[in-house]
Every structure is written in structure tokens, then in C-alpha cells.
């Protein structure tokens, strides 16, 4: 509001009071709390009625705010730190009770407010609808506690530093929501970046696998140029990376260190059980036996098979054998197949004929192995079969 001309000189020396007010959007800051509000309050610039209409006054932990009742957009505030002291002014006839608030001078870089200049050093709040007693009490409390000093807000308290550049003022619930959204976006970005690295890694891994495959093939082709030792080392690198090398699968002469050790261990461990079971055990039986004994650090089926495949090359007294039907067994090297078949023939001849189950029971073998032995004897021409609704029986081959 423009001061009238006759007060221009006074103005130059006048302490600006009403001009302490700043425009505000009326929202509380993060750490700012509402203390009390009262409607029906008119502002006075010193003794003069302010140009503004009647509105509502709000006291917070940090500021004194006033909002126009008719035009809610019009909202001004003043930091409590600007208050020097305040006092009550009793109501009179035709006059409402008031609270007079004396203020510090406005700082040079104060944000714009409704008044550029003011000649008074104090303002008045006129409580048209009462409520001044409680308001006064709460104002006293706040001024005593000075809570704004403990919990600073990012509101532009004139301290020489304006609001942080680029950062929108976040106040109230909207502020909280906005902060959460920012945080979420940040997390998202981090995750995407991390996965970018992962996808790059996977590309590299693919290249590596291709490379190692091509090298493995080259080794296969140029068998003579590369020493056995190097080949074994290379294959062990591949295996440790989890790449199954096609070379090892075919030429199970050379295995990795792990399989070699494992094979030796199996050689020791299986001697006794094999002898108990007549020199032969199905690979599944071996698997169960070995893992039960180990307790921890169980063997995978693949490792077991790979270890068994190199028994012969390590000159261990065990052999891995695969029957026509695909059944795999571990047997003692001393185990002689001819003997087994001859004895099978004797057994069958004795009884006239035998089924696989009967034969298994007779020898204390598993049915699976018993059948394999009978089938082998049939293959050699010692036995023939009788296949009927009663089941499969084996007879001595009288043909």
C-alpha cells in the first residue's frame, strides 16, 4: 500500500513493520506445526487498518500467518523470530480486542509482501470474533519455547541464503508424497543401471562360451600338437566354469582333478560292499550308498558317473559297465562274466526254469541285476525264454 504523500519524509525514517509480511502459499513446512488458528481477524499496520480484509490468523511453531477469508489465495506470513514482544489491548466500545505485536526491522533481502514500506514498528491483530485470549496464551507459549530455533524449515527465513536452487518447496502431505516419488525414481534408476551391467556381463559370458567351445574343437582336431597335460588343464578350467566339454564326454580317459580324486576314493570305499553283493552293484545303489556315507557334500549323479568312467584308466580294480538295456553297474574287475553266466545256467537247469524274481531271491541280488544276468545268458545262447501270460521265465536252451 502506498503511504500518503505527507508521510513520505516520515517514511524514510520510519521503521517498516507491516512490511515484514511476506506472501506465502499458506502451507506448513515439514517441521512446522500448527498451534492455533482464529478466524475473523483484521490486520492493522500500526494504527491504520490494513488494506486487506478480514481473514483468519494462524499461529504455527515457526510463523504467524494470515489468510484472507474471501480470497484464500491471498495469504501472508511473518516469521516469529521477527517478533520482539507483544501485548494485549482490551476491547472497547465498538472496538474488538486486539493483540499488538512489535517487530524487528525487516531485513534487506526479505521476500516480497503486501507492503513495501511501513512507518510503524508494530502491527495489531483485531479479533472481531473473539478468541484473543487463547491466541495470546498460545503465542506466549511459542515465543517462550521458540521451537522454530530447534527445527529449522527450508522456508525462506531471511538469513541471506535463498531457497536451494532447483529444489521445489515441499510442504505438507504433498511434500511428503513428492519426496517418496523422488526416492522411488532414484531407486528405479539404480536398479536399471545395475541390470545394465548384468546384461553386459551376460553378453560377455556368451562370447566366452563360444570362444571356449571353438578352442575345445580345435583341440579335438589337432590332438597331437597339444600335450596331454595342457589338455587336462584346459578342460578343468572349462569344467570349473560349468561348461561341459564335448571332448571329455567322448574320451573319458582324461578327467578333472576332482573326478580323479573322487574315483580313487570310490575305489577304496566300494571294495567291501561289492564283495558282499557278489561283485556287482547297480549305479543307483552305489549313488545311495556313497551319499548316505558322506552325509554332507553330496555327490551329483553326473560327478559319480564321470568318476566311474575313469576307473580303468586309473588302474583301479573297479569297472563301470553298461548293459544293452542301459542299466549301469559298477563291478569288481575280478568279476568274471563267464563264471557268472555259467553259474546262472546251473541255477536255471537245477530248477528247470526261473523267473528274474526267483533268480534274484536265490542269489541275494536285486531283481534288476538278476534280470540283466539272465538276459546276458540268453544273449550268449545258454538260455531261452518263455513269454506268456504267466510272466517271463528262462529255461536252459535245449534248441
Amino acid at each position: 500500500m502506498v503511504v500518503c504523500e505527507k508521510n513520505v519524509l516520515l517514511l524514510l525514517f520510519a521503521k517498516r513493520k507491516m512490511d515484514r509480511f511476506m506472501w506465502t502459499n499458506g502451507l506448513l513446512e515439514m517441521n512446522e506445526t500448527l498451534v492455533i488458528q482464529q478466524r475473523g481477524v483484521r490486520l492493522y499496520d500500526g494504527e491504520d487498518k490494513a488494506k486487506l480484509d478480514v481473514g483468519g490468523v494462524v499461529l504455527s511453531t515457526h510463523r504467524l500467518l494470515w489468510r484472507d477469508q474471501k480470497n484464500h489465495e491471498c495469504c501472508i506470513c511473518i516469521p516469529l523470530s521477527q517478533v520482539i514482544f507483544f501485548e494485549e489491548q482490551a476491547a472497547g466500545i465498538g472496538k474488538s480486542a486486539k493483540i499488538v505485536i512489535h517487530l524487528h526491522p525487516a531485513p534487506e533481502n526479505k521476500e516480497p509482501g503486501p507492503y513495501q514500506h511501513s512507518k510503524y514498528s508494530y502491527i495489531k491483530l483485531s479479533f472481531k470474533e473473539h478468541g484473543q485470549i487463547e491466541f495470546y496464551r498460545r503465542l506466549t507459549e511459542e515465543m517462550t519455547q521458540k521451537r522454530w530455533e530447534n527445527t529449522p524449515v527450508s522456508q525462506p527465513i531471511p538469513t541471506g541464503t535463498g531457497p536451494k536452487a532447483g529444489r521445489t518447496r515441499a510442504v505438507g502431505i504433498v511434500g511428503i508424497e513428492r519426496k517418496l516419488e523422488e526416492k522411488r525414481k532414484e531407486t528405479d534408476k539404480n536398479i536399471s543401471e545395475a541390470f545394465e551391467d548384468l546384461s553386459k556381463l551376460m553378453e560377455k559370458a556368451k562370447e566366452m562360451v563360444e570362444l571356449s567351445r571353438s578352442i575345445a574343437n580345435k583341440i579335438k582336431d589337432k590332438q597331437g600338437d597339444i600335450t596331454e597335460d595342457e589338455t587336462i588343464r584346459f578342460k578343468s578350467y572349462l569344467l570349473s566354469m560349468g561348461i561341459a566339454n564335448p571332448v571329455t564326454r567322448e574320451t573319458h580317459g582324461s578327467g578333472t582333478q576332482y573326478h580323479i580324486q573322487l574315483a580313487k576314493q570310490l575305489g577304496d570305499m566300494l571294495q567291501a560292499p561289492l564283495e558282499e553283493r557278489g561283485g556287482m552293484m547297480a549305479l543307483t545303489e552305489v549313488y545311495c550308498l556313497v551319499n548316505r556315507a558322506r552325509g554332507m557334500e553330496l555327490l551329483s549323479p553326473e560327478d559319480l558317473v564321470n568318476a566311474c568312467k575313469i576307473f580303468e584308466s586309473l588302474k583301479l580294480p573297479l569297472r563301470l559297465r553298461v548293459f544293452d538295456s542301459g542299466v549301469m553297474v559298477v563291478q569288481l574287475q575280478s568279476h568274471s562274466e563267464e563264471e557268472m553266466i555259467a553259474s546262472a545256467l546251473d541255477n536255471v537247469s537245477d530248477k528247470g526254469s526261473l523267473t528274474a524274481e526267483e533268480f534274484a531271491k536265490l542269489l541275494g541280488l536285486s531283481v534288476l541285476l538278476a534280470k540283466e544276468r539272465l538276459l546276458l545268458a540268453e544273449k550268449m545262447g545258454h538260455l531261452c525264454r518263455d513269454d506268456s501270460v504267466e510272466g517271463l521265465r528262462f529255461y536252459p536252451n535245449l534248441f
Binding site: S353, E378, K379, G381, C384, R385, D386, D387, S388, R393, Y395, N397, L398, F399
Partner: protein
Amino acid sequence: MSFEWPWQYNFPPFFTLQPNVDTRQKQLAAWCSLVLSYCRHRKLYTLDVLEAQESPVFNNKKIERKLSVEAIQVVFEELRKKGNLEWLDKNKSRCLIMWRRPEEWGKLIYQWVSKNGMVNSVFTLYELANGDDTEKEEFHGLEDWMLLRSLQALQTDGKAEIITVDDGKGVKFF
């Protein structure tokens, strides 16, 4: 005279087609000879496959075993390869069983003819197969188609000639 079954007939594995190749060969040989001797005994010249399944040859009730249809087909194929069997239809449901081949029949007939000094005589087919004179002979009752084939075999050898006599066929021996 009752038929004498071979020892295999009472051996259960005989009725299961053996997977072992060597064993199977021996088994099939035994089957062929059994089928032929049975047919000779019963003077069967044709066989129907479906009927055969129930015939005692392929079905031994005593040991409760019988040869499967697939196995019977295998046996018949074996007979065909040997020249003892001829399919009468494309579906392989009926066949001719030649437990004696035409050449062998021809020889037998010619032996009888020459033994009785009837070379250069003429016979009707009926006389040969069903005449009183041939009653004791093995070829008595020989079915026409087989008789004809036998005589054709002799004809090829130059020992006979098939001619037309009255309204049928006849043969002249040389």
C-alpha cells in the same frame, strides 16, 4: 496212427519267438518241420491262418501255450521261403501247404508208373489220384492242383506230357 509230437512241442519256450538270433533259427526250423509233418499226417493241402491258431499244432492245451499270430506268420513266411507254402490271396489268410514239393510228387508217381510197367500208357488225372490201383500209394488222394503241378514238373523233365482226354485232363508217361 496217431501223430507223434516232437519234444519241442512240450517245451514252453517253443511257443515264444526267441530274441536270440541263433536260437530263433533253430526254433523256426523245428516249427517248419512240425507243420509239414502234421499236414502230411492229416493230408492237409491248404491252411487257413485263423483256423490254424486253434489247431493243435499251434495250440498245446496241455502246457497252456499257444503261438501268437505274429509268430505263426513268421513260421509261414519261413515255409514260403523254403518253397513249401504258397499264399492263395493277397491278405495272406489262406495258403497251400506243400509238405512234399511237386518235383518230389512227380518222382513218386513216375516210380509207380515204371514199376508197374505202365510207361507209354495214358491216364486221366482222376485215375491217378483216385483210382483203385493207386489206393495204397502215397499220392492217392492228391488234390488236383498238386497233381497237376507234379505232372508239370515231370513234363519239364521230359518224362510225361499232359494231354486233354475226353472233357478232362490226362497224362502220358514216357
